[in-house]
Symmetry: C2
Subunit: 230 residues, 2 copies
DNA sequence: GCGACGCCTTGATCTGGATCAAGCCCGGCC
DNA sequence: GGCCGGGCTTGATCCAGATCAAGGCGTCGC
């Protein structure tokens, strides 16, 4: 099964710059973890088991407020990682991680991974670049939440998702409810807002989990806060 | 003047683990930048000049929405850095940076700094740890904004600030208006919320820029969403 | 000293999105 | 097939915080 771990690591952007021996070294320390839909991978405040790389499926990373409200920080799909920050910084798990679909991950345990970081410069550089990208994403999400209204946030999300999936069709990565939480909306508001976009002819619902961007240009305008009439 | 650049770098947490020769190397590439209160250090979308380390003064990093609303991401004081992410990732400036007080910074220009990163493992490790801390802060801020109400956010900010300044007296790092924007509030709401805390006897205003935490325990409860009566 | 401008406070009103409350629809299970 | 439960939509109402609108208060330039 190291076989499959190698394959997962190779498909991950964070490690794409690494050469064979290094990938072997990482694969050797890795363990394969599979779980059914709904499995809790880790919980907030637990010691962090290591760095996870998603091979198949999707993982929802979310925080829970004392009030019970939750916020979905990240929906990690194949090739993406989570818990890197906790591993690097030696923090406990900052959030919950739950499999949204049947999932297989490669887990690189914290201790050996940190030791590898101590000596391996290439690995360090790759991770540094990865973190820079992650900070950028986070700041983007934060600015969305703070500076845009519901329809602008949704429009931007849809544009991003369409670009990320390389077409004008989007497959939603999770339940609408969870997507809503990611955008700091309730599912009711998400539903209504999506309807507004559909009524205006900017998008078209295919089924519950899939939709199509019809007019990307106007969608961009909406994301930039134009079309106050909408 | 390399003298002073060295001193600024030495006082910066990011570089605290570096040995003499490395600090010398960084100091040699650095330039000293001073500016009066109000000076724009860089603007959003400009090419990023390099990594800034604050020596004296304070710098406000903020984003501007098309609507004109602004959001203060960070108020960097002595020993802190900004624009690291853009330098590492090779992105353009993601935000505006403005001196809130007369400020002197060390600027490590992007190109030589990136080259140093290519070869210097220690530097890389330090930066990686720094980024991990920064991501953590960002996530914390985001969760504050998403999961807490106005009074909870303010309470948490005050506790953090008091801890950071090592006592129960807090000197606000910027205008109330800018602080409000950092917490995603209007200055009106900040003013009212501060008054509620003062009326309840949890804090005490000294003057416009300074205040004292009187009851940290109850403030913690407020931050956790208790005291619904407040 | 005296304007005047910026910043902060306080009050009155407005509103986007949350919350509460039904249905509806689809898929799984008996 | 029929029932049941979870997720989505839609409608009605509510509310935290924004916005609009006055003052008050310090401080800086003259």
């Amino acid at each position: 099964m190291p076989r499959e771990i190698r394959a997962i690591l190779e498909a991950c952007g964070l490690f794409s710059a690494l050469d064979r021996p290094r990938l072997d070294m990482l694969a050797a320390m890795g363990r394969r973890r599979t779980g059914p839909r709904g499995e809790m991978i880790f919980r907030q405040d637990e010691p962090c088991p290591g760095l996870f790389v998603v091979g198949e499926g999707r993982v929802r990373i979310y925080k829970l407020a004392p009030s019970g409200k939750e916020h979905v920080l990240h929906l990690a799909g194949p090739g993406q990682t989570f818990a890197e920050v906790a591993v690097i910084g030696g923090f406990p798990c900052p959030a919950f991680a739950e499999a949204v679909e049947p999932t297989t991950c490669a887990l690189l345990p914290a201790e050996p991974f940190r030791r590898a970081l101590l000596t391996d410069h290439e690995l360090c550089r790759g991770l540094l670049a990865g973190m820079a990208g992650w900070v950028r994403t986070l700041v983007g999400l934060m600015e969305d939440i703070v500076l845009r209204d519901a329809i602008g946030r949704l429009a931007r999300y849809l544009l991003d998702a369409a670009a990320g999936q390389g077409g004008d069709e989007i497959e939603l990565p999770a339940l609408k409810r969870h997507l809503a939480s990611h955008l700091n909306l309730t599912s009711e508001t998400l539903s209504r807002t999506l309807k507004r976009l559909a009524d205006a002819g900017l998008v078209q619902g295919l089924d519950t989990r899939r939709l199509r961007v019809v007019d990307a240009d106007r969608l961009r305008d909406v994301a930039d806060g134009l079309f106050p009439e909408l």
